[in-house]
Amino acid sequence: MPIQYYIYLCLTLFSIGIIGVLTRRNAIIVFMCVELMLNAVNLLLVAFSKMHHSVGLGAEGATSQAGIDGQLFVFFIMVVAAAEVSVGLAIIVMMYRNTHSVDINFLNRLKN
């Protein structure tokens, strides 16, 4: 499968994530869009790792481990994402407790 396809796909997903961050006011949804971005990245990483792996295969045969680091990186990204989610949701809940709202447009006590 040509790598460009994957790139386009992931960039699309990534940009959709960005657009989500920009267009939604619900903190949770915004956060979900960030997760969407991360997933796009993950997919792209895997794709790249397979691409580099193919080169490795060509070079040193079936035993090649080339490109495995990409997939491991994905693993770490998932770990971090999980940690982030736990903290992030905690913060959002705390916010909700005090304001009974998750609307980021109301976050304007601090400005100028």
């Binding site: 940009s15 969407l36 895997v46 792996h53 193919s54």
Partner: protein, 165 residues
């Protein structure tokens, strides 16, 4: 057109569509569900790329744990379409435009990236198998693996600190 290609396009279409639905659906719960759909599609891609381990982890961690957490919080706050605040239309427009610009930029770059020409992400190879990943993870990548524990610790402490009344 081989099956993989067909599958690829199907999954891509599904992923993009569900992603867009995440954005547009008014009800947060629906957004969550659509996002889960995206994750499934992506896991499908993983499988296509013969990265079974990641596919499973993706399902378990993301679709399983994380999204459930999200769903849980949303339920807790019982957010729904009515309570869902809407941004001003112009803001949405601006957001869409700028996001689009960003996409265009990167795409155009990719098109100029000649060295990517003719390179494929093959579905062959076995680096995606748990065996190999595990080997690598616990030999070369053991340090970061351990360090992530610090990450989790801090996240845990943080969650506790924040969560405490």
């Amino acid at each position: 057109m081989s099956t993989t290609e067909i599958l690829f396009f199907l999954l891509s279409a599904l992923a993009v569509f569900s992603a867009i639905m995440v954005l547009v659906s008014k009800n947060p719960v629906h957004s969550v569900l659509w996002l889960i759909a995206v994750f499934f599609a992506i896991s499908g891609h993983y499988i296509l790329l013969n990265a079974q381990f990641l596919a499973i982890v993706n399902l378990i961690v993301y679709a399983g744990a994380i999204m459930v957490l999200f769903l849980f919080v949303i339920m807790l706050m019982n957010l729904n379409a009515e309570t869902e605040p809407q941004k001003h239309i112009w803001m949405k427009f601006a957001g869409a435009i700028s996001g689009g610009c960003f996409l265009l930029m990167l795409v155009s770059l990719t098109r100029q990236a000649v060295e990517m020409g003719g390179r494929n992400a093959i579905s062959g190879g076995n680096i995606g198998l748990i065996k190999n990943l595990g080997k690598a993870l616990f030999s070369d990548y053991v340090v970061p693996f351990e360090i992530t524990s610090v990450l989790f610790l801090s996240a845990m402490v943080g969650a506790v600190v924040i969560g405490k009344k």
